[in-house]
C-alpha cells in the first residue's frame, strides 16, 4: 500500500514530532482525507430517531460558538439536537443520554472553565455508571499552555471510566480550532449515519497557521496609577499596534520572557552550548532562545521536578523551585543530560490581560491596567514574571502580544443598561466599555462599582471617571475604599446599600458584569443573590436565568 521509501519518510517524520504535533497531524490528515474525497456531499436520509445533546463549557465563548454551529449542522441533517451550557445542564439527565457531545475548553492550569466546574466535579464523583452513554469530546485549548486540553482529556477519560462508549475519539484543538472542529463533527455525523457535508475547502494551505495573530506593539505610555505611599502598583500601559483588531471585553495574551541574567546563570551551570539548536513547536531555535523566550524556568510545577528526578535518576522531593535553584540543589551530570531534559520543560504560559481601551476611542492602540504582582517566597519579596516585565517597559520598547477574544464579555445593545463591578485592576474592561459607549453615544445607562485600598492613592482612572460622570456617560458610581476607615468596606457592601436600586436596574434589563479577583467575584455573587432574594425572587432561578440570557458575565482571575 505504501512504498518503503514513503514509509521510511513517514517513520522519520513521526519520530521527530512531539505529542502535540502528532495530535495536530492526525487532525490534519483527517481533514485532508475528508476534504480531498472530492465527492459531492451525500444527503442521507434523516435519522429522525437520533437525539443528541451538545453541551458546552465555555469561558471565552468559543465552545458555545462551536456547539451552536454543530447544532445547526445536525438539525440540517434532521437530527434532533439540544444545545446547552454545562452550567445549565441537569446532571440527572446524564444517565438517560444516548448521544452526548461536549465541547469544553481548558483554563490556565488545566482546569475546566467555571461554567463547566459543576459538571466536571460531578462526573469525577464515583458511584454511578453511564452504560447507555455514547459520547464524544471536542477539547478546545491553546498549545501555548503546558496543560493543553487537559480538561477535555479528563472529561473524555472519566466518561469512559463511568462506562460510556466513545462515539469518536477526543479531538484536541488549538486556538485555530475551526477546521479540526468541523472535521471532528463530520466524523461524528458519519458515525450517526448522517450526511457528510464538508465545508473544508480544497487547497487549504498545508502549513499550520498559528491562529493567533501576533502583533508587535510599541509602548506609548507606562505610568503607575497609584500615588506615592500606596502599597499597590498598578500600571496603565498604552501600546500602539497598527491594525490591531479587538472588541471591548477582549484580552491580550503576552508571553513573558525570562531574565537574561537567569538564562546566563543556567547556561554557566549546565555547560550547555547556548547556540545549540533545538526544534521547539515547529520552530528551530537556539538553546539560549529556548530558555530566554520559550520555556518556563521561573517556577516549575511539581510534575517537572518529578520528570527531572526520573531523568537524572535521583530521588527528589518536589519543592517550589525555579530551574536554576533545582540545578543548584541537584546538578546535572553533564551538558548532554541537560540537553536531553530541556525538551521536557513546558512552554511559558501566556498571561492574559483585559484590554482597558476601545478602538472606537483609541484606534490602533491597546491599553492595559496591570497590577504588579508582589508576593513573598521564604520572606523574600518577589514579583510576578509578566507583570514585572510589563511594569518595567519604557516608552518606545516593543512587546509581542496576541488578542484573546472573549465573546462572553460583550456590551449589550446600545440602549441597554449595564452594571459594572470591577475593583482594582478589574476596572480595565469597564474603562473599555465606557470609552466604547462614550464614542458610540450609546443611550443605555452605566453604573460602576469600583474599590481599592485608599481614595487618595488608589482611585484608578479617577480623573477619567470624573469626566465620564460630568459628561453623563457614567450615570452612577459607587466606591469602596477598604482601608480609609477602621472597618473595611468592599464593593459588595456598597451593592448591599443600594440593593433596591440594584435590583430595579436588573429588572429593567441591565446586564451585570464582574471583573477582577476570583475571591471578590464570589463575595459579589453572594451579595447579588442576597439582593435578589430580598426582592422576593427565587434567587437561584433568577440568577440562572440571568446567566442563561447572557446578562450576568464574569471575567475573573
Amino acid at each position: 500500500m505504501i512504498t518503503p521509501e514513503k514509509n521510511r519518510q513517514i517513520q522519520e517524520l513521526v519520530a521527530s514530532l512531539g505529542r502535540e504535533e502528532l495530535i495536530w497531524m492526525k487532525g490534519f490528515l483527517e481533514g485532508v482525507l475528508a476534504g480531498s474525497s472530492g465527492e459531492p456531499a451525500l444527503a442521507k436520509a434523516p435519522q429522525s430517531s437520533t437525539k443528541i445533546t451538545i453541551a458546552y463549557g465555555t469561558e471565552s465563548g468559543n465552545s458555545k460558538k462551536v456547539a451552536s454551529a454543530f447544532a445547526n449542522r445536525a438539525k440540517q441533517e434532521g437530527i434532533q439536537t439540544k444545545v446547552v451550557s454545562l452550567d445549565q445542564y441537569r446532571l440527572t439527565d446524564l444517565p438517560k443520554e444516548e448521544y452526548f457531545l461536549t465541547v469544553i475548553s481548558t483554563q490556565g492550569e488545566g482546569e475546566p472553565p467555571a461554567s463547566a466546574k459543576k459538571f466536571y466535579d460531578h462526573i469525577h464523583q464515583n458511584g454511578f455508571k453511564l452504560p447507555r452513554l455514547k459520547y464524544g469530546v471536542l477539547a478546545l485549548g491553546d498549545t501555548s499552555y503546558p496543560m493543553f486540553c487537559k480538561a477535555g482529556e479528563d472529561v473524555d477519560n472519566q466518561l469512559q471510566y463511568l462506562g460510556g462508549e466513545r462515539l469518536v475519539d477526543i479531538q484536541r484543538c488549538d486556538v485555530d480550532y475551526e477546521t479540526d472542529a468541523e472535521t471532528w463533527f463530520t466524523s461524528v455525523l458519519q458515525k450517526l449515519g448522517g450526511a457528510t457535508t464538508v465545508s473544508l475547502p480544497l487547497g487549504r494551505p498545508v502549513k499550520k497557521t498559528t491562529g493567533k495573530k501576533i502583533y508587535q506593539g510599541t509602548i506609548l505610555t507606562n505610568i503607575n496609577l497609584n500615588d506615592r505611599g500606596s502599597s499597590k502598583q498598578t500600571h496603565h500601559i498604552e501600546i500602539a499596534a497598527e491594525g490591531v483588531q479587538y472588541q471591548a471585553g477582549d484580552s491580550i495574551g503576552i508571553i513573558p520572557h525570562n531574565s537574561e541574567l537567569l538564562v546566563q546563570a543556567i547556561i554557566e551551570r549546565t555547560g550547555i552550548d547556548p547556540q545549540q539548536s533545538f526544534v521547539h513547536r515547529d520552530e528551530t531555535c537556539t538553546a539560549y532562545e529556548l530558555l530566554h523566550k520559550k520555556l518556563n524556568i521561573a517556577y516549575l510545577p511539581e510534575r517537572i521536578i518529578t520528570k527531572y528526578a526520573a531523568h537524572t535518576e535521583r530521588e527528589i522531593e518536589p519543592f517550589r523551585s525555579g530551574l536554576l535553584e533545582l540545578l543548584i540543589k541537584h546538578p546535572v551530570k553533564d551538558a548532554a543530560q541537560f540537553e536531553s531534559f530541556i525538551q521536557q520543560l513546558e512552554p511559558i504560559t501566556p498571561r492574559l490581560y483585559s484590554i482597558a481601551s476601545s478602538l472606537e476611542k483609541f484606534d490602533g492602540e491597546v491599553h492595559l491596567t496591570v497590577g504588579r504582582d508582589k508576593f513573598s517566597v521564604a520572606d523574600e519579596v518577589q514579583y510576578g514574571l509578566c507583570s514585572d516585565l510589563l511594569c518595567a517597559l519604557k516608552r518606545g520598547d516593543t512587546i509581542d502580544f496576541y488578542v484573546h477574544h472573549n465573546d462572553q464579555f460583550r456590551l449589550p445593545q446600545s440602549d441597554r443598561d449595564v452594571i459594572m463591578i470591577g475593583p482594582g485592576t478589574g476596572i480595565a474592561p469597564f474603562r473599555a466599555f465606557l470609552a466604547e459607549r462614550e464614542s458610540t453615544g450609546a443611550s443605555g445607562r452605566n453604573w460602576l462599582f469600583f474599590g481599592d485600598q485608599h481614595f487618595t492613592t488608589d482611585f484608578l482612572y479617577q480623573t477619567e471617571i470624573q469626566q465620564w460622570l460630568d459628561d453623563g456617560v457614567l450615570n452612577k458610581i459607587d466606591l469602596a475604599f477598604s482601608r480609609d476607615q477602621s472597618d473595611k468596606i468592599y464593593v459588595q457592601d456598597k451593592m448591599k446599600k443600594c440593593g433596591k436600586e440594584f435590583y430595579e436596574w436588573i429588572k429593567n434589563g441591565a446586564t451585570l458584569y464582574v471583573c477582577g479577583a476570583k475571591r471578590m467575584s464570589e463575595d459579589v455573587e453572594k451579595t447579588i443573590t442576597d439582593i435578589i432574594r430580598e426582592s422576593g425572587e427565587d434567587a437561584d432561578t433568577f440568577l440562572d436565568n440571568l446567566k442563561g440570557s447572557g446578562r450576568y458575565l464574569k471575567d475573573v482571575y
Binding site: L225, D227, F455, T456, F459, L469, I477
Partner: protein, 554 residues
C-alpha cells in the same frame, strides 16, 4: 450698590441658607476629595480652606488622579488659650486625621493641614468633645481675637485677656449650620432662632480682624488689624482702650488701588458696655458700607479711606449714641516673645520655647512635638499661643516648675531655644507653598535656610545679637505681616522676593520696597553692604529699621 455689582462670593453667602449651601451633599460625593466652588467659599466660615498639594499637581495629573485635595482647619482660640487636655486632644486629632503637625499661626491659634474630606466630621466631633471649635476662623467675619499673650506683661493681664472672650462672643455668627452639618445636631424647625442682627444674611464684606495690645509690647502687631485696641493701664488698673481702625496687610501685585495700611487711632473708650458697643458698631458700619463688589477693596481700611476717618468716627458715635474720648498716650518699645522662664505677679511661672515658624515637629535639632506632648501630659499647666507663632507654657506653680523644667531639659528644649540667634527669634514666615493656594513663592519651608545665610553676614559685622524683625510671606497678602517688618520679603514668583526695608522695630511704621524680585544671591548681595553701613554708621540703640529710614535707603 446694585445687586448686579455684587461679587460672586456675596451672592453665594446670601443664597447659602445661613452658610449651609450644599456642603452636606458635597461631603457625600465619593468621587472627589474636593467640594463645589460655592461650598469652598462657605466652608471658610466653618473654619476650613480647601487646599491641594501644589507640589504634586503635575505628577498626579499624569497618574489620572485629581489634585491631592485636603482641608486646612483652624481653631477658634480667643487670646490663644488652651488647657493641657485640649492641647493633648489637638495633637491626638492632628495625628489621627491630618499631617500630624500642629501649626501655630500668627493669629494665636493652631491650624492643621492635610485633612481629607472624609475625615472632617470625625475631626470636628473630636474637637467638640474637647470643647474646641473652628467656627468662623476663616471667611468674611470676625476672626480669632488676638491679645498680648504673656501674662507677665501686666498684673491685670487676665482682666484684659478676658476681653478677647467677650469680643469673641459678641461677634459670633448666630447660624446653627456648623452644628447641623458637622456635629449632626437636629435641624432647626424655627429659623428665627438663628436670625442674625449683626451679620444678617450677608456677613461682612471681607475678613475682620481684632487685636488687643498691652503696651509696651506690641507683640500682636496691633496696627495690622481692622480694629486695634490698645489697653490703657494706669496704676495696675485698666482704664479702657484706645481704638484704632483700618489696619490690614494685604495688597495685590500690580493693583495700585490696594495697599497695606496701619490702623488709625480714633479715640479712647472705657467701661465694658461702651467698649463692646463701640466694637459692635464698627463692625456694623463695615457691614453696611464696605465694598461688596470688589473683594480686593473690601477690607475696612478701604472703607475708612473712602469715607474718611472723621466720617467714620462720627458714624460710630451716631450709632453708639456716645462720643469717643480723646486717645490716651501710650508707648510701644517691642513686639517680641519673651523666651525662657518668667514669673508673673501672682507667682506663676511661664516658659516660652522657640518654635521655628510655629511648626510643632520633632526635628534633628529638637524633639519639640514630643516635648510639648509629654509636658502636656503632666496637666500642670496651660498653653498660650503667641502671635509670633510660639507657645507659652503657662500658669505653672512654683512646686511644679522643677518637673516641667526637667522635661524641657530631657528633650533639650531649653538648650535649643537658647541657641537660637537674635535674628531667628524675631523671624516669621507664613505657610505658603505647598498648600496655600495664594502663594507665589516659598515662605516657611525656605526662610530657615535663608536665615542660615544671613546670620554669618550679621556676624561678620558684629551684628549677631541685633534683634531685627525679619518676616517672609509667599504673596502680598501679608499673613506673616511682612509689611511691618524691618526686613520684609514678599514673594513675587517662585524663588523671587521683593525686599522691603524701613519698617520700625515696634510695628508703628510700614516698610517700603527696596528692590524687586530678587533671588537668593540678589538678596544676600543687597543685604551685606547695608549691614556693613549699619554697623559703621548707626546711632546708639538705633534699630535697623530706623536706620534704613534715617539714611533714606527707602
Amino acid at each position: 450698590m446694585s445687586e448686579n455689582n455684587l461679587s460672586s462670593v456675596e451672592k453665594i453667602k446670601q443664597a447659602s441658607d445661613s452658610l449651609r449651601g450644599s456642603i452636606t451633599s458635597g461631603l457625600a460625593d465619593e468621587v472627589t476629595g474636593a467640594i463645589s466652588e460655592s461650598d469652598k467659599a462657605l466652608v471658610k466660615f466653618h473654619g476650613m480652606y480647601l487646599q491641594d498639594d501644589r507640589d504634586r499637581r503635575e505628577e498626579r495629573a499624569e497618574k489620572k488622579l485629581e489634585r491631592l485635595y485636603s482641608f486646612m482647619i483652624r481653631l477658634r482660640l480667643p487670646g490663644g488659650f488652651l488647657t493641657a487636655d485640649q492641647y493633648l486632644a489637638t495633637q491626638d486629632i492632628a495625628g489621627e486625621h491630618t499631617t500630624g503637625v500642629i501649626k501655630i499661626t500668627t493669629r494665636q491659634t493652631v491650624q492643621l493641614h492635610g485633612l481629607l474630606k472624609t475625615h472632617i466630621k470625625p475631626t470636628i466631633k473630636a474637637f467638640s468633645e474637647a470643647k474646641l471649635n473652628s467656627i468662623a476662623t476663616c471667611g468674611d467675619i470676625n476672626r480669632n481675637v488676638i491679645c498680648s499673650a504673656h501674662p507677665n506683661q501686666s498684673p491685670i493681664h487676665r482682666q484684659i485677656h478676658e476681653f478677647s472672650y467677650k469680643i469673641n462672643e459678641l461677634l459670633l455668627p448666630k447660624t446653627k449650620a456648623y452644628y447641623e452639618i458637622w456635629l449632626d445636631e437636629e435641624k432647626l424647625l424655627d429659623k428665627k432662632e438663628e436670625e442674625d442682627p449683626l451679620y444678617q444674611d450677608r456677613y461682612l464684606p471681607r475678613k475682620f480682624k481684632i487685636a488687643i495690645a498691652i503696651p509696651p509690647n506690641n507683640d500682636v502687631d496691633v496696627f495690622g488689624n481692622d480694629l486695634a485696641l490698645i489697653a490703657i493701664v494706669e496704676k495696675n488698673e485698666l482704664k479702657g482702650f484706645n481704638v484704632a481702625i483700618g489696619g490690614g496687610m494685604s495688597s495685590t501685585h500690580g493693583n495700585p488701588a490696594t495697599y497695606p495700611r496701619l490702623a488709625t487711632v480714633i479715640g479712647f473708650v472705657s467701661g465694658e458696655e461702651k467698649i463692646l458697643k463701640t466694637i459692635y458698631e464698627i463692625a456694623t458700619i463695615q457691614r453696611d458700607y464696605g465694598n461688596r463688589s470688589d473683594r480686593s477693596l473690601a477690607r475696612l481700611k478701604y472703607t475708612v479711606d473712602r469715607l474718611g476717618v472723621d466720617w467714620f468716627k462720627e458714624e460710630i458715635e451716631r450709632r453708639t449714641g456716645f462720643p469717643l474720648e480723646k486717645e490716651k498716650p501710650f508707648t510701644f518699645t517691642d513686639r517680641k516673645d519673651y523666651y525662657g522662664w518668667f514669673k508673673n505677679s501672682e507667682g506663676h511661672w511661664y516658659y516660652t520655647p522657640f518654635i521655628e515658624n510655629g511648626r510643632v515637629v520633632d526635628s534633628e535639632a529638637v524633639a519639640m512635638k514630643t516635648a510639648l506632648y509629654e509636658i502636656a501630659k503632666t496637666r500642670k499647666l496651660n498653653f498660650r499661643f503667641t502671635t509670633n507663632q510660639n507657645v507659652i507654657l503657662s500658669d505653672i506653680t512654683e512646686k511644679d516648675k522643677p518637673l516641667i523644667n526637667q522635661l524641657l531639659d530631657k528633650y533639650r528644649v531649653r538648650e535649643y531655644t537658647e541657641s537660637i540667634s537674635a535674628l531667628r527669634r524675631n523671624a516669621m514666615a507664613c505657610v505658603a507653598l505647598n498648600t496655600c493656594p495664594l502663594a507665589f513663592a516659598e515662605a516657611q519651608r525656605y526662610l530657615p535656610s535663608l536665615l542660615d545665610k544671613i546670620e554669618p553676614l550679621l556676624d561678620k559685622y558684629g551684628l549677631g545679637k541685633e534683634e531685627i524683625v525679619i518676616r517672609m510671606t509667599g504673596c502680598p497678602n501679608g499673613c506673616a505681616r511682612s509689611y511691618i517688618a524691618e526686613i520684609g520679603f514678599i514673594g513675587t514668583s517662585l524663588g523671587k522676593y521683593n525686599l522691603q526695608l524701613g519698617g520700625d522695630h515696634q510695628g508703628m511704621r510700614l516698610n517700603k520696597v527696596y528692590r524687586e524680585s530678587l533671588d537668593e544671591a540678589g538678596i544676600l548681595a543687597e543685604l551685606e553692604p547695608l549691614f556693613k553701613l549699619f554697623a559703621a554708621e548707626r546711632l546708639k540703640n538705633e534699630s535697623f529699621g530706623d536706620f534704613a529710614k534715617r539714611k533714606q535707603i527707602v
